[in-house]
Assembly symmetry: C2
Amino acid sequence: MKKFVNDPKQFVPEMLEGIALANPDTLTYVPEYNLIMRSDAPRDGKVSIVQGSGSGHEPAHVMIVGKGMLDAACPGDVFAAPPMDYVYETTKRLASPAGVLLLVNNYTGDRMAFDMGREMAEADGIRVEILTVDDDVAVKDSLYTIGRRGVAGNFFVIKAVGAASERGADLDELVRIGKKVNDVTRTMGVALTACTPPAKGSPLFELGADEMEFGVGIHGEPGRERRPMTNADAIVDELLEAVASDLPYASGDRVALMINGLGGTPISELYLLYRRAHQQLAARGITVGRSYVNEYCTSLDMAGASLTLVRLDDELDGLLAEPAEVAIRVF
Amino acid sequence: MKKFVNDPKQFVPEMLEGIALANPDTLTYVPEYNLIMRSDAPRDGKVSIVQGSGSGHEPAHVMIVGKGMLDAACPGDVFAAPPMDYVYETTKRLASPAGVLLLVNNYTGDRMAFDMGREMAEADGIRVEILTVDDDVAVKDSLYTIGRRGVAGNFFVIKAVGAASERGADLDELVRIGKKVNDVTRTMGVALTACTPPAKGSPLFELGADEMEFGVGIHGEPGRERRPMTNADAIVDELLEAVASDLPYASGDRVALMINGLGGTPISELYLLYRRAHQQLAARGITVGRSYVNEYCTSLDMAGASLTLVRLDDELDGLLAEPAEVAIRVF
């Protein structure tokens, strides 16, 4: 296994400890519950926003805790939902009189953990809402999901509700905004290689030297089709057609365009994909108002990428433009 | 070849076009010379700062052009120095009465191109200085270098002179600051896998399933030793010893600590490396004042990482803390 790892069982705790050590002034780490939280949370007048899921999707979600984004992240082990008591303890510690908003990608295991954690917290008198993200157009129902999966588009939900929360929005308003973003966000991805979970030590699935998995999930689960590799432009054209025709996005729309790397693909290639997507959107009469080219939601070391569109209006554009401060930084 | 690529000959131009399309308000792209420049450069009172090198090290340097960083980047093809006339044309277009500062990583091919480009520009009456970065402690003299190589530590030179330039520093002052940063910066890296240049279509070198290249260069060139894989902590301890003992960094020092991914290693693993480095520095009585965990200077899709230390004083700390605006963004 060609990875930087010590004991695979300590992979997640050691990563979380690193995040905390690099951000001593702003983040607090609670090892018993894999909890990374803002040191200044909870605050009386502010809804606390929490996202949890399996680990292995970094920077989501443990590296985007901070002002204007998440108040806390509650990760499980690699590709495993957090236990319900982690969700419960996290919700208790983040409990503010304004309430707690739990963001969940639509995977069945995550939904179960968060539904149960929510029940436990509500029994303590904490006001909790859950918002489910399901932006992946690749498949309806899949190995680990009923309905559509939640993937890289969750970044936009987090950014929008994080910004609105800093402005003082209450829990109902955050649920409205989060649903609105999810409703106008669509994603599809493609894998060129499998990923290797530290505990397994070998690739999670087999993919031939000239094959790609079209519509892959963020745990490497199957998508629409396994097919021969094509060139970058042809891949973008197919991803874009699948995504754009789903909402659909139409001439005259203004969108945010995200090219998200899945972990093992260098950013040079992501900009090459961005170029084609931008050009093809222009050809469809769709204007790119905001651009996102980086890693946002990965699948460990998988080579691959996903394409996300968000239909913008003035409200969403304003929320996405707000500043934020998180662990992951360019300088 | 499992890469997002069309015609390998168009890999660099298509990437540059993507960068320009994603930043229409701030960047200008001049295809004839692979030139990415700030749209508001040159400015009369400001020294223009330019870095060039082969491509394949992204985000260095084409994605860090912007306010507070580079005024322009002048890249060659993948792992190839830019032709001298690219350097000359770039310098002419960036010529300001305050002069032009060319930053060059110490690789012989790059130095030749920039020395020649500088001569051509000086013949036109343009004031030019060259600052060479050579932070890699792994080897003295190597396949493509006389002296030490310039690697990820160049980020700190760029950030410091970029910030000083925004404050109005003149060319002599920028050369002083850049040399000062280079003098207190040391780096060493390790490769777990080889990288695949698009034009070659296969790995650049062979590395066994249980081997790593210790002290690797950013083009995959040999370092100190090829040896069996060990765990993450043992790798960090050896990198840190090599780097810290070189300047040396001593008890009582305050440093910036960078864990730089080489392109194919996910950020989860980088934070795991960061954790150990931070702990071992503390054990040596060295305080981490600033933390950098991300990709800064890559080698295409190579799995691996490098560790950089910069000894801080108030002047450098202040310059590194200044804001900047570049193509690559977290949100």
